[in-house]
Symmetry: D2
Subunit: 339 residues, 4 copies
């Protein structure tokens, strides 16, 4: 096998949205992302700390969908490495010229074995890093894109694909026989990509990093003030997995966005993998709160390299939500508390 490309990190997602104005309100006025560029068909957004052109593209379309997950590679030569590597895997790849996406240099696109449209690029337009423009901070004060989370039927297969690509596995949810979810990273955080078991390929969520828990609380307060609290799907809370303080929002098209804080350093090669038992109610919420069903069931459609919706494959193994109901120690524990 050829050497895999040297991926730096999750760098950008492109979402298809049906009402660009409504999405602009949600991502810029409410979340607080900065507009790097905009035209009639698309918005290019970034966090306060990002000096690369954008980390989110919102493109106008008929049906909400994920168009692409983009990663940055270390050198221009990693594009050749990528073509060779994915070609050897028999995956469909395409080389697209600089500017195919505004601000992004030449890139390699591939439909990964899980069915996700993946893009690798190195060259990117630099824009001002706004970290110390506190006068421009608002919303959740998003610093940067943190990670992608995708739904896929076969977690073990996904784990293998990303491990071969050089991702380290930081955490899992599992039991004696089944892998329910896995978190994998190239950069020195808990993840660049997480795999959630379910019918796929679907996009579960993208996540932006914010410096402190207070930012998450403030965002929820603002949504309540505006009567837009229905955008809050789950949380705020503390994750067991990753230890992050989080909230999950649904954008105007139903795309799920996580706001994510704290995390921990995972950059040493022997960083231990933390394996959560699927029966530990703290794995998804460290405070033991039940996860709302929509969070397990709903996810965004994914497009192929030609922009057509991908067909779903069902999960063959047990679903986490089904295993947890009944097995969950939460209710039992709480009952015993009282008598």
């Amino acid at each position: 096998m050829p050497t895999p490309p040297d991926i730096l990190r999750a760098a950008s997602a492109e979402l298809v949205v049906t009402d660009l104005e409504r999405s602009r309100w949600f991502y810029t006025e409410t979340l607080g992302l900065v507009v790097t560029a905009a035209d009639d068909d698309a918005l290019y957004l970034r966090g306060m700390e990002e000096y690369t052109h954008h980390s989110l593209v919102l493109r106008r379309g008929e049906q909400p969908a994920l168009a692409r997950l983009s990663y940055r590679v270390r050198t221009p030569a990693d594009l050749d490495a990528a073509e060779a590597y994915f070609g050897a895997l028999g995956l469909p790849t395409r080389r697209v010229p600089a500017g195919t996406t505004l601000g992004i240099g030449e890139a390699v696109r591939v439909l990964d074995p899980l069915g996700f449209p993946m893009e690798l690029f190195h060259d990117v337009t630099h824009v001002p890093r706004l970290t110390q423009r506190y006068d421009l901070y608002h919303g959740v004060e998003p610093a940067r894109l943190d990670h992608f989370n995708v739904m896929t039927p076969d977690i073990a297969a996904g784990h293998r694909f990303y491990s071969d690509l050089g991702f380290r596995c930081s955490e899992t949810i599992e039991d004696e026989s089944t892998l329910y979810a896995a978190w994998l990273a190239r950069k020195s955080t808990v993840h660049d990509i997480a795999l959630t078991g379910g019918a796929g390929p679907r996009l579960h969520h993208i996540a932006f990093f914010t410096p402190e828990a207070r930012n998450v609380l403030h965002l929820c307060d603002v949504l309540g003030s505006l009567g837009n609290q229905a955008h809050i799907e789950r949380g705020p809370g503390r994750h067991g997995v990753s230890n992050a303080f989080y909230v999950y929002l649904r954008d105007p098209d139903g795309h799920r966005v996580e706001i994510y804080t704290t995390d921990y350093y995972t950059g040493d090669p022997d960083n231990p993998t933390l394996r959560w038992d699927v029966r530990d109610e703290r794995r998804r919420d460290f405070w033991g709160h039940a996860v709302v069903e929509s969070w397990y069931r709903e996810a965004s459609t994914v497009l192929d390299l030609d922009g057509r919706p991908q067909q779903l494959l069902e999960r063959a193994e047990p679903h986490e939500i089904d295993v947890v109901v009944g097995a969950d120690g939460f209710t039992a524990a709480r009952e015993s508390l009282r008598q």
Copy 2:
């Protein structure tokens, strides 16, 4: 009618608990209250800022219950005023000598018209205020008792009783025909007492004030670390009513304790009453999250002046939880978001 006594504030609650050691762990090691005094049968606890002897008594007993809600009055003469006032209302009153409760001077006890054992006192032993002993802070860093919340069938009657006693009504939950809940204060905060509609008399919760939201998050993290997350019943979240950031815990006997922050100033005589429509999903949680059913249904037994459990009266008017199911705009709003 005689002039009512001049009540300063909610000052102390006495709870009957079945396992004093387990309760000590919960209230001191976990919540972080300070032990002023302890003997084989009782613990006397206070918050970091309290220089009056205690704000919570935990007394060993056979069955969990509320023994007493105590208020401080402005002068010793207010005890006479209390006897005259409650006597004129035909309520059973008792004068108990100093030291009947450790640290508390002479007091007047009365069974209020809602069936709650109420106590008024002025004299109290001073103890060190620990506000600036940050080296002793732990748990949720509780500053002081903030308020009581009681379940009673007839909110309008309760509202009348407390208003006559000089409490100002800061907020309500209501609709065109029904009062579901009311918040009333003597001190300059949102409440010293809240009335929640339901079978009563029962104690819904007592609440301690902590300076910042971060304290609430940290407490939940600690409970998760210890595998004691079942003590977290609801939240953390932002209240619509009161605007406070909150979490509800259940103690080892199932007594509910709220940790409460921020609040607002209500001390002017024309402070406006904020009336929440029962159909506004933000009234109980400003972020629109559903309230867990146990929070509406469960509450602590209340003792009479002789220590016998009070019989319950059912609520004749509609229950908030029943009105909200269906009428709640939450699901509708979220659905509309997606298609």
Copy 3:
């Protein structure tokens, strides 16, 4: 002596500023106060939680000055009580009709014995309380006016005047022979008015309350981003006195504004007075940092009832800053640390 008027709280200050546009930038865009009303000559501002018309008036004038410190009284009849009380003290008083200050009803003005123009009013126009309009929050998210702090040569005399008016003394700075500063309250916080020893009458500062320490940090970050860090005079830090987390700013005219958080409950009549030794370096900054000299030396001119600058009386007793230099244990303690 007649009974003093029943003062509720410090309610509003009127400052003379030389450049209304620059002041508007400072108080609304930077601090985040809300504009209730504005005309060519004045701005009427309030905090997010205030439903009374304003807590700060900025009036255009030739020279920066304090025009007035206003307190709210419990009833309209307290205006008559005020006239009688201050008249009996031989102080010059004036009754001014409703609307003399926009939004404020009939009022009594008096030149207090310390030389400060004091105003008492009851009636006031109600405006929307914006506590839960988090979408409008910005700057330091000021909730409400908290207190005034004035410089006056004779602290004992000032203490007597305010105590006679029914203020409780919460804290002092003193030594065996001298009172250097005192904090006195009508509402249930540490103070409505603080007295700082020095040539007077001068206004040391006015203070706004914000819910959490993070708000103070954010404000400083914004000032740094804009290159306006010179507005930050002292702090952020923790006070010994009051235990508040604070920062002191200087507005475009040099008027000092404190942003103030946390505080503690002082509403019981026997609330203990906390007496700080002037030699305890933690009294002004609990972390032991030296106070910048400008903070001790500089303060705003005060106008009399006719709008003429008041002449200054020097302090006869020792100045805190002089006593502290040398006596301060700080350097010594730090040296001994390294020996």
Copy 4:
């Protein structure tokens, strides 16, 4: 030249302290580091998130000093690479067997060209990561060692040495002719090592990362409560360089420790270097506060590979503190504010 070793990150410092019990109090009870191991002569400490054996060794000795700065390398083979690389530079190197420092495998020690005793290791004993043991959190809740900061006369020479070793330069302080300070990183943060201009080799400080600004404030509050505020040398405040929220402490021997939060991601190879003008008063404190002189002047003695104190070389170029006095816009700006 041979290929340099692949350094992962700053991993551990060894400090000589004169009173191990007093140091234990400071680093464990006050700061909140965890004791991995202890014997009569040394303490091995780590942050809550660290699964490698320790990040700080305190070793009993006659005179306070820095004994060693240790970095972790990616593979065991990097030790050979290190020997070859440093040997080719003509630097004295030593290979020490596993266990020379408790918990650390075989290592290479070298006296770097700036005169600092540097150590590289790969193998290390794993210990429990305590990230989610919130019940054990106290003090400043330190997550992990973040960086070293050293004083050295020739910043350009230091910059060259570390750049050749593969460090990226994230920020500098400079003017047209002089480099005053530089920040360089291997991991994806602002720095693993910072160079401060001054007589050297001396250790300026070591820094621990804590998740949120509130942790820093709490630590200062605790130090004030204990009357130990003299340990607080500078801050809390916001850095211009690095954007971190910080405080500098002095340990019982005068060793300087920084507590450090937030930071930003620097892991892309084209991460821009942020160059601060030495005349920008916000470079060291974003809020414009003057830096206390001790912070510029004082630093810890450094030992050579045989444990003997290194002689100091004076700085030939201008000192930042001298350039800043007078050139600093702060006083001017503040004066102009008041005209």
